[in-house]
Amino acid sequence: MDDTPNIVKEVRKSETATVVALSGDVDLHHAPTLHATLVNIANGRPKRLIVDLGEVPYMDSSGVGTLVEILRRVTAYKGTMALIGLNPRVRSVFEITKLDKFFTICDTEQEALDT
């Protein structure tokens, strides 16, 4: 039995964006279920996908890699994707891997909607 909790806390869809809020550590344990959920959402081809990491205290390369793959899917159909609410610890993983230059990283949802 798969007892891995899904760390997707909320999915909100509007005309302008789909916002996916995560909650909990994103590591090798949780990345597969996160990947499956985000792929499913990306398959709906939202024009703008916003991933809210405000309640993610920790992320490793498994989580970052999952977001990279989703970014590639979204940009492939000409959509946009933004990350919001990164704490310094999570942001540093994007900086160490130099992926911060590929992602749109915003402080707030409104800022992501305005970009």
């Binding site: 090798l28 344990h29 490793d60 793959e69 540093s92 993983v93 160490i96 891997t97």
Partner: protein, 166 residues
């Protein structure tokens, strides 16, 4: 070395074990004087090392043994640090072939060893004669007046036979 300065952990190769080891490493690093950021980075490096063992050394099998030893040490200049040894019984790989990847590409995999190389001061993979792989890595407490570490982030580190199981 004083035995009180050594922590040994034995875990199964299940991803559920990762937060337990992260917490222990982070706690020990802070006890030894690491800053919040350095302790976080040390925990991240251990997490990436264990994830690589699980994914590549054991091909995702969740019930294989991994031993982690954390020990206090001092550099030749007297700076305190932590040495972490990760030992598994998984597939052996020539340490010289373990490489990080070009970060100019936007793709998901191959980031683990880059992270380890970047945040640790010393990294060395080896193939013990009785099988499996061993990763030894060291991080020293950053000096308050050491402003170079941030600027050098992402550049190659001295030595290590670093590499990427993934």
């Amino acid at each position: 070395m004083n035995e009180a300065e050594i922590v040994k952990l034995s875990i199964a190769s299940h991803p559920k074990s990762l937060p337990v080891v992260r917490s222990a490493a982070e706690r020990m690093a802070k006890m030894e004087g690491f800053s919040e950021q350095d302790a976080n980075e040390l925990a991240l490096a251990i997490d990436e090392a264990l994830a690589n063992v699980i994914k590549h050394g054991y091909s995702g099998q969740p019930d294989k043994p991994i031993d982690i030893t954390l020990s206090v040490l001092r550099s030749s200049t007297g700076d305190p640090g932590l040495c972490i040894v990760v030992r598994d019984n998984g597939r052996q790989v020539d340490p010289d072939t373990i490489q990080g990847r070009d970060l100019d590409d936007l793709r998901p995999g191959g980031l683990g060893v880059h992270i380890i190389k970047t945040v640790m001061d010393e990294v060395e993979y080896s193939c013990p004669p009785d099988g499996g792989m061993q990763l030894r890595m060291v991080k020293y407490v950053s000096r308050a007046d050491d402003s170079s570490s941030e600027g050098e982030r992402g550049t190659s580190q001295t030595d290590p036979k670093d590499g990427d199981h993934g």
